[in-house]
Symmetry: C2
Subunit: 147 residues, 2 copies
């Protein structure tokens, strides 16, 4: 029954995404960051001085979603906004010194907790079953007090 199967796939993705967000929340809490906020920093670490629309495109988010995230990052001193000299509509986003300095520490913290995911990304059968095992594993990680 293809209906059932498809449902399972979408549902597994839904649960996996929620669990990933929770897992990252625990790790990023130390730095007072959420997962979407961290994604913006990731994009800027790869390439500084990007516009809002570029970040939207990379994260597959609308400006209505991105703006409150950027607002938080501004308030907490991770990024800066500067109007573009060439295009008065555009706003350029820059990393602050803090964001540049914390990069290594944040990456390190994530590496320590999530190295185990190598295993999940390479081995096993179908997408749905992989996601199911991913979810089981994430559930375990999320229930651990050690994190």
């Amino acid at each position: 029954m293809p209906y059932k199967l498809e449902h399972q796939l979408c549902f597994e993705v839904y649960k996996a995404a929620n669990q990933f967000t929770k897992l990252y929340a625990k790790i990023l809490k130390t730095f007072d960051l959420t997962y979407p906020q961290y994604l913006v920093l990731l994009a800027l670490w790869e390439k500084d001085a990007q516009t809002s629309s570029t970040i939207c495109e990379k994260l597959n988010l609308g400006i209505g979603t991105l703006n409150p995230v950027l607002q938080k990052l501004l308030e907490k001193g991770w990024i800066l906004k500067q109007p573009s000299p060439t295009d008065k509509r555009a706003t350029m986003l820059f990393l602050t010194k803090k964001a540049q300095q914390q990069k290594q520490h944040i990456e390190q913290a994530i590496l320590e907790k999530l190295l185990c995911f190598d295993y999940l990304a390479t081995e096993g059968p179908s997408l749905k079953e992989k996601l199911q095992r991913l979810n089981e594993f994430l559930l375990l990680l999320n229930s651990e007090e050690s994190l």
Copy 2:
């Protein structure tokens, strides 16, 4: 570099979940339902008369998330709440006639749009790459006016 790889996996899941939600939103709009609301109905279609905590467990959501969803379903006449006779703390959730009658139509609407996902769930290499192709495909579907 395991850090990068893991990031990709999580990020792909994140994007896939967002896109699935958008895709379902378009299909379910006809019935004035959102994806989480539909998930609750799915759980109750499988087995009527469940408690809030059972639904929480099945959907992997907290009561703080589920309650506003249930509230909406109540307001729109999809479900009913009855205090359990055996346990005065517990609230039993029931499908209304409307929810029972609409089941087939909703399943039909989803089947029509999402039959194509058979393909994605069975074929191809690693989890990350499967999710990447899933995202490409979802992006295409989400950008189509026909939906």
